[in-house]
Amino acid sequence: MNLTLKIWRQKDSNAKGQMVDYKVTDISEHMSFLEMMDVLNEQLVNTGEEPVAFDHDCREGICGMCSLYINGEAHGPDRGVTTCQLHMRMFKDGDTITIEPWRAAAFPVIKDLVVDRTSFERIQQAGGYISVNTSGNTQDANAIPISKHAADEAMDAATCIGCGACVATCKNSSAMLFVGAKVSQYALLPQGQVEATDRVMNMVKQMDLEGFGNCTNTGACEIECPKGISLENIARMNREFLKATIKG
């Protein structure tokens, strides 16, 4: 198929960006979206233009590096996939595809389609861990039974890949689905209880400091999340936060 691409180009974080049109031809429907981008970039290299910078790495939907806003949707039109798993069979010959970076104050553009997500890092550093040192004497892994239900729910929350699609999708650029998922994982496990109060307070505080917006329960984040992280995690974080506020 032949396509027109409208792509956000921006030289660096200080430059003013703009949309630029490109044409690609003979795109196979079996290609992944990023393979289509590879074709474009090979074309640009060969004609002496600078290729489009975009983040990507594992190309199997787990590293969370890829981050394109395609036709107004985070990770494009398919559901339950990251951009690297999106395939060209979702598009038709002659389509015009708009490709933009994540847009959020807390995710400044570095270049073209690459954004800076270190705000997520700082939120995790504020409390996204259990304070346990490495030692050969940790108690036996089966010492504390954990109900299968709780373990499965914790796992569901823990599958967040930290891509930032929730933020990009949210009209308020809220990071509550991301933070809620991490808070939930630990809140659901006995190991996470000791530091539960400090954790949620510190992570929420950092989230606010980074300039992420608040949640107004639209639910778009859940729909666009490539890993299907549920809104329940936001509710759980709110409960944890309330509990922590009362306990102090």
Binding site: K11, S28, H30, M31, S32, E35, D38, E42, V45, N46, G48, E49, E50, P51, A53, H56, D57, C58, R59, E60, I62, C63, G64, M65, G80, V81, I110, K111, R117, T118, F120, E121, Q124, Q125, Y129, I130, S131, V132, N133, T134, G136, T138, Q139, A141, N142, P145, I146, S147, K148, A151, D152, A154, M155, A158, T159, G162, Q185, L189, Q191, G192
Partner: protein, 670 residues
């Protein structure tokens, strides 16, 4: 230099304990005056960085991604082995040790493997304490699954995302130390050389991938945890950015490179679909717990399937060749990876491949769905269930176990694997070879350590499933933090390492010169052009089956591609900005050298063992006819290569392998 593995004396089961009792320690007050650089933040690097920081060292960690959490360990699916014997099925430290040595086809160092098995149980305890949500059974205890090449269930897992969960555990431990200021994290940075001062590794030169700035970083020791070199094949299950640059740079500065030809071709990957393909996707080995691998028995059916006249589900049981079950009745579909891959290649080479390229076999879940469905019907007291009901119940179980893998398959191939068998074919996945290290995990450069997939030590010629995660975390959490202390104990009075020495200056200049060369070369062909050509030579001549003539041709062809690369590569953009093409150019330049050494190593090793199959070395008669033939008399050694300029001139050093606790014998999975 003679290779000294520094394996402690004494009985194998006491070596590690005795060693730990006798090594030098660094007191806590002195640790805060000692800096350690860790390159790579996957399971090995991440766990090492966190643990070293907990101990009190000042750690500087480097990752080329925008977060440590994105290292490619994240993509490991199936699980992590540990000798917990929670299932009571006869597992033990010794048995894990034995399985790993045997699975590695007797080309690993016994003492290292025993230590690995010994600390394996601690890993699970540590990860659970960190909040890693492993799968559990209804009683709330940890669940296990079985992997290839073993007869027990010792694999712990978190759905099909075990690597992700373990890495997030290590990442959380790192975050705690980053917040404390004990780890200084350098995201979007790439190490481009090691700096050796007075014979010791004392720092690195790194490039800031956002600004292009070249930076000098000093430390008292340097730890390389940068993963494997599978991308030398261009197409592999590795991430796009996975590269051998850090490992190759230390090789060029004096670290020997061991057994590069020991590379794992994983049997269950999604077959390639076209020339545009950028990577291959793995379908976890755990699928072989329940999936059965087959091709049609009759050539007419093969042709009918390829032409779309028949569907795989049209074939009756006796029209199918479950070739693994046929050839290896004891292990069946759970033979080790090297054996399964070669068997798939054998069938496809004989013409039985089931897709248009002729390079695919089926992985079929129909009988598992039926078996689970019947079991569930019984559990739920459903008498005379209909076929549809059985399918529905069985599908539920398969979905719970492998749902994310099935979804991944469906998104890529656009077929429903619950209804029609998956198509799979082997692809490059993991590299057992790597930087040579001694028992302390130190390379032949004093003060330069290498851990995880980047080193060569524990998997011999073939890695068993779910052992990579185990080794990465063992090295990082439980081995390196001890062994490095023994070395750093001599450095408590050294003080900060200055970065204005001539060694740093020279290293920085070499890095800058090379970058400027790329930018100014103005060639006519893209980096990928050369990488793809290299990959094709590697796959065709240094792939699943190798022979003398092909390997000699490969060496000459790779050299040729390398020469063309340096003449004609085209790198757009500038040095002082984010420039992904420039990053790739540097990595491919290193692969173009590594590939040739790889072929040279394969040519030298005139035996078949593990992932290395020489067509000249097969069993010619008896029960094992057609199987790989190892040659213990002449090749029971680690091949450690010393850099001498051109890869073809590398000098071989042998570390003879001694097997005192395990009898050397032909692997049989029959």
């Amino acid at each position: 230099m003679a290779l000294d593995s520094k394996v402690p004396k004494g009985p194998i089961k006491d070596k590690w304990t005795d060693y730990k009792n006798k090594i030098n320690l660094v007191n806590p007050a002195n640790k805060r005056h000692i800096d350690v650089i860790v390159v790579g933040t996957g399971l090995a690097g991440g766990s090492a960085a966190a643990t070293l920081a907990e101990l009190g060292y000042n750690v500087k960690a480097f990752a080329y991604q925008d977060s440590p959490r994105r290292a490619h360990s994240i993509a490991a699916q199936g699980g992590i082995n540990a000798a917990k014997n929670y299932q009571g099925d006869g597992d033990s430290t010794y048995r894990l040790f034995y399985d790993t040595v045997k699975g590695g086809d007797y080309r690993s160092r016994e003492a290292n493997v025993y230590r690995l098995a010994e600390v394996s149980a601690n890993i699970i305890d540590q990860c659970v304490a960190q909040g890693v949500p492993f799968a559990r059974d209804y009683g709330g205890l940890l669940d296990n699954r079985s992997f290839g090449g073993v007869l027990v269930s010792r694999t712990f897992y978190a759905k099909g995302q075990t690597g992700q969960q373990l890495l997030l555990g290590a990442y959380s431990a790192m975050n705690r130390q980053i917040a404390r200021g004990k780890i200084e994290m350098f995201n979007r940075h790439e190490m481009l050389d090691v700096v050796v001062v007075d014979g010791k590794a004392r720092g690195i030169i790194a490039r800031n991938l956002i600004t292009g700035e070249i930076e000098r970083h000093s430390a008292h020791a340097v730890v390389i945890a940068s993963g494997g070199y599978g991308n030398v094949y261009f197409l592999s299950t590795n991430a796009m950015g996975s590269n051998a640059t850090a490992a190759w740079k230390i090789h060029k500065k004096g670290a020997y490179f061991a057994n590069p030809c020991f590379t794992q071709i994983h049997p269950t990957c999604i077959p390639r679909s076209g020339d545009y393909q950028s990577k291959l996707t793995l379908m976890s080995e755990s699928l072989r717990n329940d999936g059965r691998i087959w091709v049609p028995k009759n050539m007419e059916d093969v042709m009918a399937i390829r032409e779309g006249r028949k569907k795989p589900t049209d074939l009756s049981e006796d029209e199918r060749d479950y070739y693994l079950e046929r050839r290896y009745p004891a292990f069946g579909n759970l033979v080790p990876r090297d054996v399964a891959s070669r068997a798939a290649k054998e069938r496809c080479d004989a013409g039985y491949g089931v897709n248009a390229t002729g390079e695919a076999v089926y992985l079929d879940f129909a009988s598992a769905i039926e078996r689970y469905g019947k079991e569930q019907a019984k559990i739920h007291n459903i008498d005379n269930p209909t076929e549809a009901k059985i399918y529905e119940l069985g599908k539920g179980i398969v979905e719970a176990k492998y749902g994310n893998l099935f979804q991944m398959y469906e998104k890529i191939v656009d077929e429903d694997p619950y209804k029609t068998p998956m198509m799979i074919y082997p692809a490059t996945h993991y590299t057992m070879g790597g930087v040579w290290v001694d028992y302390n995990l130190m390379t032949t450069i004093p003060g330069c350590y290498c851990i995880g997939e980047a080193n060569f030590s524990d998997h011999g010629a073939n890695r068993l499933g779910a052992s990579a995660l185990m080794q990465g975390l063992a090295d990082g959490y439980f081995v390196l933090p001890y062994t490095i202390g023994d070395y750093l104990a001599d450095d408590i009075r050294t003080g900060k390492i200055p970065t204005n020495s001539k060694e740093f200056e020279e290293a920085e200049k070499a890095v800058t010169d090379r970058i400027n060369f790329f930018i100014n070369n103005n060639g006519t062909k893209s980096v990928d052009h050369f990488h793809k050509r290299l990959g094709k030579v590697m796959w065709d001549k240094v792939g699943m089956a190798r022979n003398e003539q092909g390997l000699k041709e490969a060496m000459a062809e790779i050299k040729q591609i390398r020469e063309e690369f340096w003449k004609d590569v085209k790198v757009p953009g500038n040095a002082n900005e984010m420039n992904p093409e420039l990053e790739k150019a540097g990595r491919v330049a290193d692969f173009l050298e590594l590939g040739e050494l790889f072929a040279k190593d394969a040519l030298m090793r005139e035996e078949s063992c593990g992932g290395h199959f020489r067509e000249e070395s097969v069993e010619e008669s008896g029960e094992q006819k057609g199987e790989a033939k190892r040659n213990d008399k002449d090749f029971a050694f680690v091949a450690a290569w010393e850099y001498k300029g051109e890869p073809a001139d590398a000098v071989l050093h042998k570390e003879e392998l001694e097997f005192k606790d395990i009898e050397l014998k032909q692997r049989s999975y029959k």
